[in-house]
Symmetry: C2
Subunit: 327 residues, 2 copies
């Protein structure tokens, strides 16, 4: 009998990536392509199916034990319906059914933050922990919760909306319509916004030069670059975002008592500039007992948390069907 | 074989209560006594043991299938050590060992908010839900989380510290040393404090009269009573507390996606005065999908959530030892 193979897919608004993995979660072969969200559901499903066929390499698709897919929005794991994924398709998207029709193998679907949490939990070198929260800080802020060695999904399958935890009712407006959500302080989008506001007020900063002299062109990337060069305005803006992310981590520690809080996503690439103030806030504000031996760490799998997590989810799904009574 | 019997104990800083229950969680016999925390660990354990012997009524203690105890602080469920219970004993309290020595039956120990969550979950008439968060708003604010049909304890066994979730870094100081914790807005202690501050500033309110003319004597109870009589100052103070509790509920919904958020504790006795603004805040601020079909409800078991929950925990513990392989 040949060694078992698994397919993981990480579907984003811009890029879709697929990997063939083995039972140890190692990637043997991978492929990626543009999502082309603007072409609609059928074309997206066609694109994913074609990419999966490409990623299997020399393996026959029928020999793959399971296919799992992380999707950028809330999803019903049974029907595999994706709801309300603003960066992909408006309304409901029957992504599981559409992929199963095209691939003729069972497809398992979950929210991408949950899938990335599985990746960091099983393959991120965070030991044999049973309690890990993965927070992604990127265009938005999302999270996946591993509690007692299981993904915590909740009643409406939407658990982990750390980005829309309110940490200051008088804080800046968030895209969701509220004020002072974690996302409104810490997402790349909002960090860029704070920088453009500061420049528009006439504050002087290297950020402007780094963006080629155009205020409109300043993003979180220029904030981080200027802060690294010692720019005071950029440093203050990024520190404020990191400090508020630290407050979100404190709240997560108080509510969930995780062993690991793993932070990934584009903004986490800022490294110590982010993790310094986050850890400092946790040390100053978290209660002693809940914060005891808690590790706040960068995602070890980097941009692959979601892809390797999807392979891991395929492994878990295959094990579960093997263990389940035959129907 | 006689029907199985279980003992549940609810240990508070002032009062300790014990109940004999059947397998359906019905209380057959009960007893209570002063805790006398000031007398120290051994005397507290003596008192609980005596109360348990009283609560068993005609049943022999040796015929009780399990004894379970809810305690007011973080606890290690294996060693049964209670840590850091400011209203009871400073430092570590080996309460499980001390009770087992006195009672000569196995004793199971858990945090009282978790135990009350079990009570509301199993016996509170909230259906067969698998996702319930119980929040107690009393002297302090605590919570117990049921996720996927299990108590969520976390790595340090401290999950559910909703009271110390920060919802406004510029908010009022909390006893924990931080600012703007949920507890600093919503606990009975802090509601009373807000009222005394308002009166000390010279604001005119019926609260003063209700407290016999002494500002120092005003507590949350007078705030609720005056607010019910239409007093504007009391109404504003209580509404602000309730609105902030609503924000805490929003954050809990976003993080955990529960089906039920059950609110108990002394402050919840204010009824619609509390639940009106809480539900209003949830309706205005929670995201559509996470808040879909979520019920925010008063504790149905009232002051008995913890006591009946302890009986329920004894039932669960007995079932678990019966199901476990013999060692």
């Amino acid at each position: 009998m040949p060694e078992a193979r698994y397919i993981g897919v990480d579907l984003g608004g811009t890029l879709v990536r697929a990997a063939l993995g083995n039972a140890a979660g190692q990637v043997l072969h991978r492929a990626d392509a543009a999502t082309h969200a603007e072409r609609g559901e059928a074309a997206i499903a066609d694109g994913i199916a074609a990419l999966v066929r490409q990623a299997v390499g020399g393996t026959r698709l029928a020999d793959v034990a399971a296919v799992a897919l992380g999707v950028p929005g809330p999803v019903d794991p049974v029907s595999g319906t994706l709801y309300d994924a603003p960066n992909l398709v408006k309304g409901e998207f029957q992504i599981k059914a559409m992929l199963e029709q095209r691939l003729e193998v069972p497809v398992h679907v979950a929210n991408d933050a949950n899938v990335a949490a599985i990746g960091e939990w099983r393959y991120g070198g965070h030991g044999d922990t049973q309690h890990l929260v993965y927070i992604t800080v990127s265009t938005g802020v999302g999270a996946g919760i591993i509690a007692d060695g299981r993904v915590l999904d909740g009643f409406n399958r939407t658990a982990g909306e750390v980005g829309h935890m309110v940490i200051d009712p008088n804080g800046p407006p968030c895209n969701c319509g509220n004020r002072g959500c974690v996302e409104a302080f810490c997402s790349g989008t909002h960090i860029g916004e704070r920088a453009r506001e500061a420049l528009a007020r006439g504050e002087s900063s290297r950020m402007l030069e780094l963006a080629g002299g155009s205020i409109e062109a300043v993003t979180a990337k220029e904030v981080v670059a200027a802060a690294r060069q010692g720019d005071a305005v950029a440093g203050r803006i990024f520190h404020d975002a990191a400090d508020h992310l630290g407050l979100a981590v404190v709240n997560v520690i108080h509510l969930l008592s995780p062993e690991y809080v793993v932070i990934g996503g584009g903004v986490s690439q800022a490294g110590d500039l982010l993790f310094g103030p986050v850890r400092d806030r946790v040390a100053r504000t978290a209660m002693t007992l809940p914060a005891k031996n808690v590790h706040v760490e960068p995602a070890r799998l980097g941009v692959d948390s979601g892809l390797i997590g999807a392979v891991g989810m395929a492994i878990m799904a295959a094990a579960q069907s093997a263990g389940a009574p035959q129907s």
